[in-house]
Assembly symmetry: C3
Homo-oligomer: 160 residues x 3
């Protein structure tokens, strides 16, 4: 692969990541499942558990249908404090796998603003992604959010 | 538009955004008005007001001349605590409009370091941009900063 | 240089920056010296000292060998609290110098999560970089981290 091709795939993966976090940050979580292929894995898991080999994820969805169900649950739940996230993402690395898919990782920091208007760091961590090329463009086959931060709400967690 | 063209415009818009925040973060606010066309709109407005349809912006400038006046005011004011901002920007989305301009939005988090050397989140929010192509490159025709955070200084506010 | 060439160099510099912070954020500091040429300068210095012309850096390494020694020291030291950094980088500016190298600068915010699981802003500041093209791709000839934040650990500081 030429340097230019390599850079353009990087840019395409960055664009996917940007559109993904924009949908969440701008309260359009109905679009969130559409960033995944139907047969996908989405997880939020603590770094502590990940490193100890004890999965026990906060969220575990193994199909886009489960992601859509989750969106419905979040929209219809009587949530006391709806989050207002701003995802900052950096440090993207990627490589192409034998099957043509892309494995990638990025650092993320999610800043939340409470209903009282206080902005603070909600969660820092790392995305571990598998991305495939579909007729509709790049989609996540897997997205695992490994968070460093300890205190993470486990009830009705929003997408990261 | 081909995927490659689309990605190159994304990169060009990211470059504009990067140079814009660099001028502010590195205390070169004299360059700030130059990122706009003469007939422009720059606003800082709370998300609360934006969503309620009650503009009442903290800053409202409807020409580059007003931006230049603002820079002069900031430079000559006897400001007790000059900010030291670091703008983090992510989640860029854009589309081309019928007139050839680009509409874009991004999430931002501004970290400020006080004169005492404390770094903290000053403001989280969203840029809503309109960008046009000029002989001198891309320029903002409109930049609206919709902030999530409640407590924002309203007196002698610096550019976001 | 055409606009497209300019944008591709920007993307290449962004890729270098991303891979650099990923190595640090993901606890692979053994890779850190490899981002530099052998005859290099790496410094962490406070903005206060930098602006006063009083260098007195927290870290000063003037060869890749010193960077490698530093990694060994960090790995073998009995460190009470190993950091878990997430580097956010934005606002990249660059220009090509007469000798073909690239001078660049970026804003950074490093979020650290303590062993107790608290995520907070550890350091905000600015990278001042010199980058050269080698057979192995782009490398840093110089990287100076000018931090805004006051309280920075000076003992066994990790790479920024």
């Amino acid at each position: 692969m030429s340097v230019a091709e390599d850079l353009m795939i990087r840019l395409e993966l960055m664009a996917l990541q940007d559109r993904y976090v924009a949908a969440i940050d701008n309260d359009r979580i109905e679009e969130w499942p559409g960033f995944f292929v139907e047969d996908c894995l989405y997880e939020i898991v603590s770094r502590e558990n990940e490193e100890a080999g004890l999965p026990a994820p906060v969220i575990h969805c193994d199909s886009a249908r489960m992601l859509r169900d989750r969106v419905l649950a979040l929209r219809h739940a009587n949530i006391y404090e709806k989050p207002a996230y701003r995802h900052m993402v950096s440090g993207m690395e990627w490589r192409q796998e034998a099957d043509g898919s892309y494995s990638g990782s990025s650092s993320y920091v999610v800043v939340n603003t409470s209903v009282e208007g206080e902005s603070s760091i909600y969660q820092a961590g790392r995305y571990l992604d598998q991305v495939v090329r579909t007729e509709g463009g790049l989609r996540f086959r897997q997205k695992r959010c490994i968070y460093d931060t300890l205190r993470v709400q486990t009830l009705l967690a929003f997408p990261i």
